[in-house]
Amino acid sequence: MSALLEIRGLKKYFGLKRHLFQRRTRFVHALDGIDLDLMEGETLGVVGESGSGKSTLGRTIVRLEEPSAGSIRYLGRDVSALRGADAQAFRARIQMVFQDPYASLNPRLSVGHALAEPMLVHRKVAGRRAARQAVGALLGQVGLRPEMASSYPFAFSGGQRQRIGIARALALEPKILICDEAVSALDVSVQSQILNLFNQLKKALGLTYLFITHDLSVVRYVSDRVMVMYLGQVVELAPRDAFFARRLHPYTRALISAAPLVSTAPREARIILQGEIPNAIDPPSGCRFHTRCPNVMDACRRVEPQLREIEAGHHVRCHLYAAGQ
């Protein structure tokens, strides 16, 4: 497997509006030094709570946001240097599926129109007749009937709308799909249908996924590797089974322990974290998790830990696993 996407030192700061007498602009540190290789054909699950930067990561990769620093390379080429036709071709390779299928479809466009538009803009199809055929094929691919193309979004249920959202993302034959909480708004019985659809499409089309979600059981089901983010940084990154078996970072342990289990069997004692996620404007000194960490040590308050590979493919950012221990 080779890296489809190489991300190095990626940062995204959002400037806050400055008060009249304030000397310097303050920044929200949404992404702070992300290094990541997305391998061809894998599903990378990205987990984190609100404010962790997981959505900003997805949006920066598809260039809905411009990075403040760092580089994103697609098949070895720096994407920020792409211009004109090259940039357009790159955008077609990476597509996004959003959380809210209600908000991400234009209510005034028929589904057929919404699906044909990207194909016409990118000249994937020549003329209306070809577009109509391509739309029918797309709808079939996501489990809808071709004649639904003439209906408007209000006529569909939440699950059907999410299928349309997926069809639209597939219209340009992308290599990578970035799914941002793509099943979070769906009912349980519909969620499993969409998860299975994602898996089928991956096999049929050879897709690579960056699957952003807060739901750990969903991550366990779809991912090959799992990455946990906290306040704009990666705190743990590992192959799925090793991730759930070893849970090296204290935050990972708390996160897994907080997830309610669908079972009446007795469970291990829950780790309840104190306090809330700190503000990303002035992130805590040293380790960003030290304010809530049950294993906090003196060094954690002063020295920022680095992301280190502890075992093959298992990376952790924590002083508990400092070299030599």
């Binding site: 019985s189 807060h214 089901y221 009446t264 309840i272 974290l273």
Partner: protein, 315 residues
């Protein structure tokens, strides 16, 4: 109960029947549009104006809430029955401090309290629901609080008068995982203190398994199964309950493809005659759509509404 649209009333909730036992937590589970929130709003008598209650009664300590006047309900709401809503952002008033909003409960139901006493009680309450610096927080506005803190304020407001029944409609759905764990722990703690009962409305079966004693599963406006959490999670009887449990990915990992119930949840305009789950049901028989299946006991305290897995005679 149903919804009025022009001249026509679309029936939603049909013959809903359940009981909250004193001192226990009842989980009401269902997917969007099954009527679980409307059931809670009926208890509070806060249904939207298009809703029409077509029959039945809601007994609270033996008295029918549906027969009460609005003035009588105002005395009950907030004092005997209180509610926590899903969206703490939209259910707090942005132009009043949180202290004032909590104090309002005392002003209405404990009118003997003076202003100072009220403030002291509010600060104490904020401390009890786990808000740090309650003295300061009391004078802040909702936009100055995080999502988790707002939900704690909502809970403080709801438990201010020590209600006998607390209705919680998706109280943790909008919260992050680690904060959800905190809030659920808080609700358990408060319940132990006050000995009250909780009706917890949620779509999250994990939350139910960990916090409830009894469960009611709703589908398309009807109860399809009821029992203790042991019944529902270990020996689910209704095909819908079984399908729901099988379609949730497990944190312990799944082998092979995840089960999924075909089709989608019907809306009130498109309910089928007979069993409303029949069109999606794997055990469907030809007679399922002829008559509505009644709730029948399959074990003591465990009932299902199903012609196939229930104990009733087939039509």
């Amino acid at each position: 109960m149903g919804f009025q649209e022009d001249e026509h009333v679309h029936g939603l909730i049909d013959n809903l029947c359940f009981a909250v036992t004193e001192g226990s937590v009842l989980g009401v589970v269902g997917e969007s549009g099954c009527g679980k929130s409307m059931a809670a709003l009926s208890v509070m008598r806060l249904l939207p104006s298009a809703a029409v209650v077509q029959g039945g009664e809601i007994l609270f300590n033996g008295a029918n809430l549906l027969a009460k006047t609005e003035a009588e309900m105002e005395k009950i709401r907030g004092r005997d029955i209180a509610m926590v809503f899903q969206e703490p952002m939209t259910s707090l008033n942005p132009v009043h401090t949180v202290g004032r909003q909590i104090g309002e409960v005392f002003r209405i139901h404990r009118s003997a309290m003076g202003a100072e006493e009220r403030r002291a009680a509010t600060v104490a309450l904020l401390g009890e629901v786990g808000i740090a610096n309650p003295e300061q927080r009391c004078d802040q506005y909702s936009h100055q609080l995080s999502g988790g803190m707002r939900q704690r304020v909502m809970i403080a407001m709801a438990v201010a008068c020590g209600p006998q029944l607390l209705l919680a409609d998706e109280p943790t759905t909008a919260l992050d995982g680690t904060i959800q764990a905190q809030v659920l722990a808080l609700m358990q703690e408060l319940k132990q203190q006050t000995q009250g009962s909780i009706m917890l409305i949620t779509h999250n079966l994990g939350v139910v398994a960990e916090t409830c004693n009894d469960v009611v599963i709703m589908y398309a406006g009807r109860v399809v199964e009821s029992g203790t959490i042991g019944h529902i999670f270990d020996q689910p009887g209704h095909p819908y309950t079984r399908g729901l449990l099988a379609s949730i990915p497990s944190l312990a990992g799944n082998a092979g493809e995840l089960f999924s119930i075909p089709g989608t949840v019907p809306s009130a305009e498109s309910f089928e005659p007979g069993c409303r789950f029949a069109p999606r049901c794997q055990l469907r028989r030809e007679y399922c759509s002829r008559e509505v299946p009644p709730m029948t006991e399959i074990a003591p305290g465990h009932a299902v509404a199903c012609w196939v897995t229930g104990s009733g005679r087939q039509p």
